[in-house]
Amino acid sequence: MDMHFDQHISRQFNDDLESLKTEMLEMGGLVTRQVADAVEALANADSELAEKVLKVEEDIDRCEMEVDEHATLIIAKRQPAASDLRMVMSVIRIARDLERVGDEASKIAKMAIALTDQGSAPRGYTEIRHIANAVRKMLNDALDAYTRFDVKSAMETLAEDEQVDMDYRSAVREMVTYMMEDPRSISRVMNVLWTLRSLERIGDHAKNICEQVVYLVQGADIRHGNEQNLR
C-alpha cells in the first residue's frame, strides 16, 4: 500500500508528521552510532570513547522525551486516524526501543571501562565483534525499512534475530566453558558475557522496530509471535 503522509489537506499536518518521523530517525542514527562506539571502545580498550558514549546517552534520553511530547501534541491537536494514527503510535514505540538500545550501549561502554581497568579479557572479542556487526546491521536495516515503508525488508531483518540468538547462546556456552577452565579470568569474562547479553537485547529491539514497520503499513500487530496476523 502506498503511504502518503504528505497529502493532507492541512500542510501543517504534513509538516508535523514529517518532523516527528525525522526526529525519531535522527534519534535512531544517534543510537546506531552509540552501539558502534561502545563496541569500538570495548575492543580497543578506549575508555575515552566509552566516556563519550555515556555522555551522549543523556542526549538520547532527551530525544525520547521530545518525540513523546511532539507525538502527544499531534494527538491532542489533530486526533489522527488510520495510517496517521499508526504512524504516531509506531514512532512512540520505536523511540522507546531506541532509548533502550541506548541503555544497552551505555552498559557496553561501562564494560569497556571495566575491562580497560582490569586488563582485557582472554577470550570473547571475536564473538562480540561478530554479534555486534549483526545487530548493528539489523538496527540499520530496520530503520531503513521504516523510512521506505518496506514490509518485505522488515520481515527479512526480523528473521535475522533468530541467528543472533543462536550465536549468542553458543558464545555464552563457550565463555562458560572457558571460565571453568580458567577461574582466574571469571570476572573479566563476565564483562564479556554482559556485553554479549546487551548485544542480544539490541537485536530484540531491532526486531521490535521491524514489527512496527508492519504495524504502520498494514495495521497488523505481529508482536509476541503473532506473525499469523501478517497480510
Binding site: H4, Q7, H8, I9, P80, A82
Partner: protein, 302 residues
C-alpha cells in the same frame, strides 16, 4: 417534521445540469475528491450485511429527475446498533438516510428504486402509510426545529396525533419520560408551558429528540444532529445516543469523524453516491480497507 431545505442539496451529483427538482442547488458533488470517478469504486468493501438486521436495504438507486444520487447501495442496519454514515458533502449519505423513512417522497422528481425493508416489511410497499412508518422510524435534523408551541406540546403532539395517548395523565407521563430520556427534564420541568423555541440550541435539539422518542419509534435517524451545537451539548447528545441504543436502532449522518468513531458500532463511508466501505467502527478508524476511506478520514486529497 418539515426540513426539506436542510439537507436537500447534499445529494446532487456534479454533472447534474438538467435537474427537474429546481429547488435543489446544483452544487458540485465534491471539490477535493474529484480525482476519483465513480467507475473507480467497484463495489462496497468490508461487511455491509449483518445477521440481525432491523433495516435491510438492497440495490438502492435514487434519482433526482435524471440525475442519479445513489448508485446500487446495499446495507444492513442491525437491531440496537448505531450505524454512522460519513462522507464528503454531496456523497449521498443524507439522501440515503432519508430513504429509510421515505422523507424523499416529499421532494418532487425524487425516485427511489431497490428493496428496502423494516423488519422484513417493504418500506416502499404500495400499501404503506408513511405516517405510521415515520412514527416507527423517527428523525432528528441538523438544525433543531421545535414546533412554535410550548415545550410540553412539542413532546405531546406526536403521541396525540398517533393516538398513543389521549388522557392527560398518560400524556404527562409520556412527556416526562421522553424529556428525562433526552436528558432535558431537570432543565425544563418548571417551564413546560413556555415556548420550545425559547430554549438554547442544545436544549432545542434535545427537545427534538424527546419529541422523536415520545412516539416510541423503533429506529431513529439523525442527520448531523450536533452540527449546530457546542461541545457540551454535543457530549450530552452523544451520551444520549449511547443510552438510546439499548432500545432503539440508530442511523446517524455526521461530518464529525470523531463523533462517528465515538457513537457508532459500524461506520459506512459514502463517496459520489456509492457506498465505498462498511466495517466495524474500530476497523474504519484504525485500519480502513479502502484507500478512499483512508483519504477521507485522515484529511488527505482523495
Amino acid at each position: 417534521m418539515t426540513s426539506m431545505t436542510l439537507n436537500a442539496g447534499a445529494a446532487v451529483p456534479a454533472q447534474d445540469k438538467t435537474n427537474s427538482a429546481t429547488d435543489l442547488p446544483n452544487k458540485p458533488a465534491t471539490e477535493s475528491t474529484s480525482v476519483k470517478t465513480q467507475e473507480d469504486i467497484a463495489e462496497t468493501v468490508g461487511s455491509p450485511f449483518c445477521d440481525e438486521a432491523k433495516l435491510r436495504m438492497r440495490n438502492v438507486n435514487v434519482f433526482y429527475g435524471e440525475a442519479q444520487a445513489i448508485h446500487d447501495v446495499s446495507l444492513d442496519i442491525g437491531r440496537n446498533q448505531v450505524v454512522a454514515m460519513i462522507g464528503p458533502s454531496g456523497c449521498g449519505k443524507s439522501t440515503f438516510l432519508r430513504c429509510l423513512n421515505r422523507m424523499n417522497d416529499t421532494i418532487e422528481g425524487c425516485r427511489v428504486e431497490g428493496d428496502l425493508t423494516l423488519d422484513g416489511e417493504a418500506i416502499y410497499g404500495p400499501k404503506v402509510d408513511v405516517v405510521p412508518l415515520r412514527a416507527r422510524v423517527g428523525m432528528v435534523f441538523q438544525k433543531p426545529n421545535p414546533f412554535p408551541k410550548s415545550i410540553y406540546d412539542n413532546v405531546a403532539y406526536g403521541p396525540k396525533i398517533h393516538g398513543i395517548a389521549s388522557r392527560r395523565a398518560e400524556l404527562d407521563e409520556i412527556v416526562e419520560n421522553s424529556l428525562r430520556r433526552a436528558g432535558l427534564w431537570d432543565e425544563v420541568k418548571d417551564r413546560l408551558d413556555k415556548p420550545g423555541t425559547g430554549l438554547s440550541g442544545g436544549q432545542q435539539q434535545r427537545l427534538c429528540i424527546a419529541r422523536a422518542i415520545a412516539v416510541s419509534p423503533e429506529v431513529i435517524l439523525m442527520d448531523e444532529p450536533c452540527s449546530a451545537l457546542d461541545p457540551i451539548a454535543t457530549a450530552r447528545i452523544e451520551e444520549l445516543i449511547h443510552e438510546l441504543r439499548e432500545n432503539y436502532t440508530i442511523a446517524i449522518v455526521t461530518h464529525s469523524m470523531q463523533q462517528a468513531a465515538r457513537v457508532s458500532q459500524r461506520t459506512a463511508y459514502f463517496h459520489l453516491g456509492k457506498l465505498v466501505e462498511v466495517n466495524d467502527t474500530e476497523t474504519v478508524f484504525t485500519n480502513p480497507e479502502h484507500d478512499l476511506t483512508e483519504a477521507y478520514i485522515t484529511g488527505r486529497f482523495g
